[in-house]
Amino acid sequence: MGFFTDTSICIGCKACEVACKEWNAVPEDGISLSGMSYDNTVGLGASTWRHVAFIEQSDDAAHGLRWLMSSDVCKHCTESACLDVCPTGALFRTEFGTVVVQDDVCNGCGYCVPACPFGVIARREEDGQAHKCTLCYDRLGSGLEPACAKACPTQSIQFGPLDELRERARLRVEDLHAAGQDQARLYLDDPADGIGGGGAFFLLLDEPEVYGLPPDPVVTTRDLPGMWKHVAIAAAGLASAAVALSLGRRP
């Protein structure tokens, strides 16, 4: 199960931000005039699990004035770096394929924070623990859809089985291309990508970095075998040096 966020029909109403905070009792973490168009939340964080981004583009000859809007969220990666590095097992994979933090286990080590290639998960100052979107784990268990998907008035945020969503998204991109929206593309829909495909994937109308998303994210764990290999060689080198030293001349 997951999200397909079709940003081509987002109207920037932020009902998703409000519904998420209401349902999950997420603390208030500042709401200000950022000067970044209509963006008040600025980015995802421990107390912001849906963030609506706004980009005003006015100098593109082919497209004239464009106002891009996108509701960003945790990607619930198939290959999830935050889950891989969590040392306490607080982060786990649910029966729905989503990634959730157990609040009673997390000890706030903060390792998940720099591991995420999208800068999603963060540590909340008030309680010292890591928090992020749960994909409304408590609602899914009762057969309900997540709060943001329920609240979205345009169905920009769609919830359902991933294979269905991917098929729907593919058809939507084809429609957009046929209508002349040649910059429309899917992001994180491909199971062969750097995170094994996202549990939340997007239809974007420009490059990912325009929205603050990494162009080619790869889960850090992919390189971990190589890291352990070099650690082992370096450790063996130090150990060999020790053996050589212990065979040296006595004082």
């Binding site: 040392p87 970095e209 603050g212 070099h230 150990a239 040096a241 020790a242 030293l245 212990s246």
Partner: protein, 302 residues
């Protein structure tokens, strides 16, 4: 083919989140943890080759350093009271989990070695503990390289092939340096040799790491290591390492020169860890270091 010099970001905002780790706690742990692990290695070698004074110094250094390390790590947690949750699971996919288990084993063993040394109680057990700590020491001194590299932090992740050697060398030179500082020259030969070897490895590995990161384009990751305050820290560290190495080689008969070079190597090792820590933070804060390499990789594929 000259890469595109332009890149876009979302209002210049960072893409990834920088670590929440505080430098004194975590960069401090990188230094003290490395010092502890390598000191245990030195203690074992010194013990086996009959260097009694050096073995004593190294055992005590290891315990002191690992105690400071543990305090720093627990202090850095968002919920310090839950530090025991680190041992809820064993996850090889998490260097922090592997490290927690290593520390849980190494700490008591290093402690036993030092206590036996100081009190004279159970010398056979003390010897076993010394050798046990010596066996775990190399892992303690190097796993932290995997820990910081196994993140999305560009300047750390890209350097994962060289980082373990930088850390091993830095730890060895620090441990050898402390041995030189605290032991008479005639009795410190293994410390001298370890210091020279470690310093050499550290110098070479660091250079290679930065060279690998000097990719063409508008956002080479080597910038994070070479510019600003970090650049100053790492250049000073390099100078102190080189000076300490020379002093260690030349100071065989001089207590003063040996001690000076030992202190120099210790300072260098600490500066290196703090510098690497800062370089990572710099690379996490500026979106170009995340976006440009990925865009180059993406475009190269098409």
């Amino acid at each position: 083919m000259v890469p595109d010099a332009e890149f876009t970001s979302y209002y210049g905002r960072p893409v990834i989140k920088e670590p929440v780790w505080q430098a004194p706690d975590v960069a401090g742990y990188l230094f003290f943890g490395g010092l502890a692990g390598a000191s245990s290695v030195l203690a074992a070698s010194a013990h086996l080759s009959g260097h009694r004074d050096l073995a004593r110094v190294a055992r005590l250094s290891a315990l002191g350093a690992i105690s400071l390390s543990a305090a720093a790590l627990v202090h850095d947690l968002g919920r310090p009271a839950r530090f025991t949750n680190m041992l809820r699971v064993f996850k090889p996919s998490s260097p922090m989990s592997v490290g927690s288990w290593l520390l849980a084993g190494y700490g008591p063993v290093a402690g036993a070695a030092a206590v036996s040394e100081v009190t004279g109680i159970l010398p056979a057990a003390g010897t076993a503990a010394t050798l046990g700590a010596g066996l775990l020491g190399p892992a303690i001194a190097t796993y932290t390289a995997a820990l910081i590299c196994d993140t999305a932090v560009p300047a750390w992740h890209a350097g994962y092939r060289e980082m373990p050697y930088v850390f091993a060398g830095s730890a060895a030179s620090a441990a050898g340096g402390l041995g030189l500082l605290a032991t008479a020259p005639g009795a410190a030969e293994p410390a001298r040799q370890l210091a020279v070897l470690g310093a050499g490895v550290e110098l070479v590995a660091k250079r290679r790491l930065i060279k690998r990161l000097a990719t063409p384009g508008p956002a080479p990751l080597s910038e994070a290591y070479e510019t600003g305050r970090t650049g100053v820290m790492l250049r000073v560290a390099e100078g102190l390492t080189a000076g300490g190495l020379a002093g260690a080689l030349l100071g065989r008969r001089s207590r003063a020169l040996s001690a000076l070079s030992g202190a120099s190597l210790l300072a260098a090792s600490a500066l290196t860890r703090f510098g690497i820590f800062e370089a990572g933070m710099t690379s996490a804060r500026d979106p170009k270091y995340t976006i440009v390499p990925q865009r180059q990789r993406q475009d190269g594929r098409l």
